[in-house]
Symmetry: C2
Subunit: 321 residues, 2 copies
């Protein structure tokens, strides 16, 4: 700390120590009030904000390293769902007074690791105290070819329903954290704490509708149905489950289908483009699975059970109110 810094309030020293090393081009070293960037010419901007709250979205004893990374990754997942390239982010950090310096160090170290992995930098931020739990908000900025970001409204009867990765691990990981499920390898808990944003697929050229699965597969699929005016029919037997999720047993299937925190991509894909998806996913080393298709009808999600009969599943996912 320089002599000049020592005359400043603790807030500025904290920003200089932990957050300035994360700052990228345009961030003005976090010593100005704003970031200034030249947007990539000829590209649309894709913008997303998500907030997480201690005791609601993460657990009080979650390590600070993974809290920051999870927040960044849930936003990256939304950017990935639109086939966009992430650029940078701004973050608000509200923490109780007396939060130890080591918490900030861990939080920033986690972000630094993910900045490297995903090619983004910090553009700006705000730190405040709060009498409540930790409250973090992150705004992510990405870019995409003009018109290249699918909405939720383009799914049509006959289009396939595809997901990336495996479904349900995040929700099972939460159950592990709550002591309701065993997880000898730690795989499920890790999936809960660290989503895997599926960046790198040419979504805009492939999907007629897309989103990421954050509030539960069935609920999120119902959003596409509603926006697109179609019905969806998916088969539990086709669901990509991790070995760990299969190991949890059939009693946990409903949790996998309706629980949150997947952060996998959910895509509507016209039949003619399914080969392109498969090829692109192979190049990006991302698992993709066709779990069903859209059919004519009023917006609804039918889940066919392993026995070929419809499963009764509530479409209600996670809601805050």
């Amino acid at each position: 700390m320089t002599e000049a810094d020592s005359a400043l309030p603790a807030e500025f020293a904290l920003i200089a120590r932990h957050f300035r090393p994360l700052a990228g081009p345009g961030a003005r070293d976090l010593i100005d009030d704003v970031a200034v960037i030249a947007p990539p010419p000829g590209r649309d901007l894709v913008l997303k904000v998500d907030a997480i709250v201690g005791g609601v979205h993460f657990l009080p004893d979650d390590p600070p390293e993974t809290i920051g990374r999870k927040l960044l990754r849930v936003n990256l997942s939304d950017i990935a769902a639109k086939g966009a390239t992430p650029l940078g982010y701004l973050i608000s950090v509200s923490v109780p007074r007396g939060t130890p310096d080591g918490w900030f160090a861990g939080f920033a170290a986690g972000l630094a690791q993910d900045q490297q992995e995903f090619g983004v930098t910090l553009l700006g931020g705000d730190t405040t105290s709060t009498p409540g739990p930790i409250n973090l908000s992150l705004t992510l900025i990405g870019h995409v070819a003009p018109g290249g970001a699918p909405s939720r409204a383009g799914a049509r009867a006959g289009h396939g329903i595809w997901v990336t990765g495996t479904i349900g691990d995040g929700a099972l990981g939460l159950a592990v954290a709550q002591g309701k499920l065993a997880d000898p390898t730690g795989y499920l808990l890790d999936r809960y704490r660290l989503p895997r944003p599926r960046l790198g697929l040419p979504i805009g050229e492939i999907a007629s509708a897309s989103m990421d699965v954050s509030d539960g597969l069935v609920q999120d699929l119902s959003h596409i149905c509603r926006a697109s005016g179609v019905a969806a029919r998916i088969e539990a037997a086709l669901m990509p489950l991790s070995p760990q999720a299969r190991g949890a047993g059939p009693a946990w299937l409903a949790t996998c289908l309706t629980g949150g925190d997947d952060y996998e991509l959910l895509l509507a894909v016209p039949p003619g483009r399914e080969p392109a998806l498969i090829a692109a996913a192979a190049r990006a080393a991302i698992q993709v699975t066709r779990i069903g298709g859209f059919v004519p009808g009023a917006p609804s999600v039918d889940v066919i059970g392993p026995d070929g009969l419809p499963l009764r599943i509530s479409t209600a996912g996670w809601s805050h109110f």
Copy 2:
């Protein structure tokens, strides 16, 4: 509410009812996960995030109408300080479960009013519950001519120190809210609750350094001194005080100089450009006042009292840690 909406969790109905009417172009009616906008061609983007917390930045009994407007305006003030044009914003809203619908209605109504006044629209948001106090974070996006946003580092000895509007009203308004000061007309409390972002000045063509005064004039001026490597000398007698601030009496002068919540612009202006500032301010109907000048020397802020002698004033402003 449509039949389809009634099947959705309360969170979505709340967003549709209160926030969708605020959504502008690119927001995709807040039913997609992201906003997609084409940035103004040939312009730099100016980005800013600020968070406010109940009990820290606003008072529990502040009306929800002004809470949202204050949050928007403190961010607009930063954009104004860089001579940028505001475009749109994303917002995170964390509120306790059971927050009445009327609170959201008032909050959104305040934002709607300011959207009209300042020409911005909502691009995206996130609503979450929190076991703590209300926590709001807003990311504002504006644009400016390439290279046109001054930093804090360009002030040089001989440049004038200018401020817009009046200084101290916000800090006095807080004292009013805390019952420490009388405010028969309600002017000071209103200044505390509703900053006046000074948009519309061609800052980039005029100022060698600029910022807005949010943490107290003396502290914020010390930031420019430190970044620019100069000393500042301001005169209390030149300070633009509102009639209400003058009425509070000389005992409140230090509060005016060091208290936060001014949200006026603080500009370093080379002598040759002072006429341009005066002319532009007259066109924009914004009061501007020269309160002193930068002088050679180690970074410091000297305040000359009404008697011509230096005032002892702590440079410490508001800090969160």
